[in-house]
């Protein structure tokens, strides 16, 4: 009997890269493995991606560029193998988006100058640098409506973005060997207000070469949202197409992952009514993810989304499975463990 099927897909698929699949030299929290001991069976979850993101941020801070390049090379190999650990590469975008906004512009520029001096041919550096300029552009602009942005700030915004675009353009040959180039290119082009056809062209090329790289999808999805002139019908078309493109290795997991991004940008109180998101499909996607890589993070996100969807049965079931490990609503409005527990019991 099995409740949620075991991650056989993941384990089998990683068999072709046994060394890489368990290589955790970059992870200070990894269990020490004695020489000759059998390699541990790791099922990579979001927690590992977060650990990798922290390792990347630390390597950037300590100017350990060789470590960054090696992590990138190994994570890219894992992604291309389609096996376990195939999502670790997205830790790079996570690290850039998390650390760049918090750092001083001059410090960041110095990091990239040093990186360039140390490894001038690095494609990773060019993609990361584009992310840096993208971040600096948005810091200059601020997050408000366009009408609230001063002309000076707008000028700086465009200038930084054009600098990012130029860098990407100049580094196409080495850069396009990494999906990070495409996610950066889409983010920069979208911020510059390029027409959908341009963004679609970049996305199609990137997704064709790197079909499992989630940040490429997230980047394109962003500019389909209503706040960027898109609409939820196009969002839904895009997400469904993304699932069809990736279901050979992901099942329908991208459905819930990409809709989670949509939810992050949604500020209303009727997500499943106002968007085209289907709770039934999202629930299915959560079950696919739990079958591939079970984790409390996924269970907590599952329970929180079930609660938002007002699915009492599922909320109660997943909360029961979580027990005292329930921790719902991290980063979400109006969702908490207590609120959802009350809802599951029949309240609210």
């Amino acid at each position: 009997m099995r409740i949620l099927c075991v991650p056989i897909a993941v384990l089998l698929a990683c068999a072709s890269l046994p060394q890489l699949a368990v290589a955790q030299w970059w992870n200070p929290q990894a269990q020490w493995q004695k020489p000759g001991e059998p390699a541990p069976n790791i099922v990579y979850t979001g927690a590992h991606i977060e650990l990798a993101s922290v390792a990347i941020q630390n390597a950037l801070q300590s100017a350990d560029f060789k470590k960054l390049e090696r992590m990138h090379e190994e994570f890219l190999a894992l992604e291309q193998s389609g096996g376990n650990g195939r999502h670790l590469l997205s830790a790079f975008e996570r690290a850039f988006q998390s650390s760049f906004p918090r750092q001083d512009a001059q410090v960041l520029k110095k990091v990239f100058s040093d990186w360039n001096a140390a490894l001038p041919q690095s494609g990773l550096r060019r993609a990361a640098e584009a992310w840096m300029w993208h971040t600096l552009a948005w810091k200059a602009r601020g997050g408000g409506f366009a009408s609230e942005v001063s002309p000076e700030a707008f000028k700086l915004f465009r200038s930084h973005l054009e600098r990012a675009a130029r860098g990407l353009q100049e580094s196409q040959a080495p850069g396009k060997a990494s999906p990070l180039w495409y996610s950066a290119a889409i983010a920069v082009a979208g911020s510059l207000g390029e027409i959908p056809a341009v963004l679609d062209g970049m996305f199609d090329e990137g997704a064709k070469r790197f079909p499992r790289h989630l940040p490429i999808y997230s980047a394109r999805l962003n500019y389909l949202l209503p706040q960027w002139g898109g609409d939820y019908a196009r969002v839904d078309d895009f997400i469904r197409a993304a699932v069809r493109r990736t279901q050979g290795t992901e099942g329908t997991v991208f459905y819930k992952t990409l809709y989670a991004r949509v939810h992050e940008s949604y500020h209303g109180s009727a997500f499943f009514r106002e968007t085209k998101a289907s709770w039934r499909l999202m629930k299915h996607a959560f079950l696919d993810e739990l079958a591939q890589a079970p984790s409390d993070d996924t269970l907590n996100a599952f329970a929180a989304m079930a609660c938002i969807a007002q699915d009492r049965e599922t909320t109660a079931q997943v909360l029961a499975e979580l027990g005292t490990r329930a921790n719902l609503g991290a980063g979400m409005q109006d969702v908490s463990t207590e609120v959802c527990q009350e809802f599951a019991k029949g309240g609210r």
Binding site: I3, C5, R240, G251, S278, R280, D288, E313
Partner: protein, 464 residues
């Protein structure tokens, strides 16, 4: 009877596949113990339902075989069971079946449940929206058998998802053990074995695999107990079950000769022990017939069937076949199980002995005796972080074959050092105590006894 096919829907145009998710469910009927139902969900994402009539108390197994998705996907198909009033069947978890991955994989998927209300039930099927799905569904009552003591029964699981339910009567004041062995399944899968009390509550659970059987206790109030045998992943196969009068042990039982009668047998002994007790269980004079290079597993299982402690013991033995149990969490009937080696029977002597305990202080030697084979003595002393001590064992009087060791344990129970007595004595190098707390010195003669020895601890003054 060959499976009959129901083509559920006409081919839908690919362009509309993704949007059929909100379509009305396709309705099917599945018969309990009927022919396997071949389900062909050609319209991606369209849910389906299988209805069936069942009566309260009925135990059923749902098996899903040969799941295929097109285009290839690692998404799954979900199944939930709803009662006549539409509510979810309690105590039944959602089943999410994945298609087999890789050419060699033949895994199926299954779940078992007990009906609570008589009437029409539904199994809701939720396929992925991105692919069409095909599989065979089978709904089965369990294979049943009434077990008589000492009569081995061979039971076959012939339907995907089917379990076996074996009933056995327990008379007041007596204990039984149930042995499940000779598991043969295709594809090879372990079988879960669960014992249910007369009131339906689960008493114990363990897992039997083709290479190793299990022995679980049947102990408690008189009545009819049910042993459920549940092959993993819907596997088909056979197994042998036999109920035996439990060989009872206590911590004062004399060494007991044992022998298995066939190479897959699991010998089970029911050991009554109390909360807080510490003891050792060991095998000596172990012999494999024929003399194969293999091992036995000596296990002490909790009353609920979970493993408390276990050890693989091989021949020729490099270390004593002995497990130490410290400070039992609860009183109850524990099982000592000895699995036979691969391709041979095993015989030997089973030794059980409660720990000898005492306290010791620096420069106040104590006399140690281990009067029962495999017995261990534990002497505790208060230690302060930074203290330097040395342990000595002198005047060791034991059989020449006995190897006597002294071990120092930290307050948390972790070993710090072990030293063997040579020529009737041992003395450890000075050791610095890392934390303040109660330390233990264990004196252990393996599976032998210790007529006498003098244990002492010396506190070494710190350098000024």
């Amino acid at each position: 009877m060959p499976p009959f096919r129901i083509v559920l829907a006409a081919l839908a145009a690919i362009s509309t596949c993704g949007y059929a998710a909100d379509g009305a469910p396709l309705k099917l009927t599945i018969a309990i113990d009927g022919a396997p139902l071949e389900v062909d969900l050609r319209e991606p994402g369209r849910p389906a339902q299988m209805s069936f009539q069942a009566r309260a108390g009925q135990r059923l197994g749902l098996g899903i075989a040969g799941l295929q998705l097109a285009p290839a996907s690692v998404s799954g198909v979900s199944f939930v069971v709803r009662q006549p009033d539409g509510s979810l069947l309690p105590r039944t978890k959602l089943l999410h079946c994945l298609p087999p991955i890789g050419a060699s994989s033949q895994e199926d998927c299954d779940t078992g449940f007990t009906i609570e209300r008589t009437g029409a039930h539904l199994i809701e099927i939720d396929p992925p929206f991105s692919a069409s799905s095909r599989f065979t569904a089978t709904l089965s009552t369990p294979a049943t058998r009434v077990l008589s003591v000492d009569k081995a029964e061979t039971i076959a699981i012939t339907r995907v998802g089917q379990d076996a339910r074996l009933s056995v009567d327990l008379a007041a004041g007596s204990d039984l053990s149930i042995e499940v062995r000779d598991v043969a399944s295709k594809p090879e899968q372990p079988f879960a074995v669960r014992v249910y009390r007369p009131d339906g509550t689960k008493a114990s659970e363990s897992v039997a695999a083709s290479s190793r059987g299990v022995s679980l206790p049947i102990a408690g109030p008189a009545g009819t107990y049910v042993v459920e045998v549940d092959p993993a992943k819907g596997a088909l196969g056979t197994f042998v079950a036999v109920a035996r009068a439990a060989a009872a042990l206590t911590l004062t039982t004399a060494p007991r000769e044992f022998s298995s009668s066939n190479p897959s047998e699991v010998l089970g002994f029911v050991l009554q022990a109390g909360a807080g007790q510490s003891f050792s269980v060991a095998i000596d004079a172990m012999k494999f017939t024929p003399a194969v290079e293999s091992n036995v597993v000596l296990a002490v299982n909790n009353p609920d069937g979970t493993r408390l402690k276990g050890l693989g013991c091989s021949l020729p033995a490099k270390v004593p076949c002995k497990v130490g149990i410290r400070n039992l969490p609860a009183a109850g009937k524990y099982t000592v199980a000895i699995s036979s080696p691969m391709g041979a029977t095993v015989s030997g002597r089973l030794l059980v002995a409660e720990e000898v305990t005492g306290t010791i202080n620096a420069d106040a030697p104590v006399r140690v005796e281990l009067k029962r084979p495999s017995q261990v003595a534990r002497y505790t002393f208060p230690g302060t972080a930074g203290d330097v001590v040395s342990i000595a064992l002198a005047d060791v009087a034991a059989a020449p074959s006995a190897s006597v060791v002294a071990k120092l344990e930290r307050p948390e129970g972790f070993p710090m050092l072990t030293q063997m007595a040579m020529q009737g004595a041992l003395k450890t190098n000075p050791v610095t105590l890392p934390v303040t707390g109660t330390y233990s010195i264990l004196v252990d003669a393996g599976t032998g006894m210790l007529d006498s020895a003098t244990l002492s601890i010396t506190k070494i003054p710190k350098a000024p």
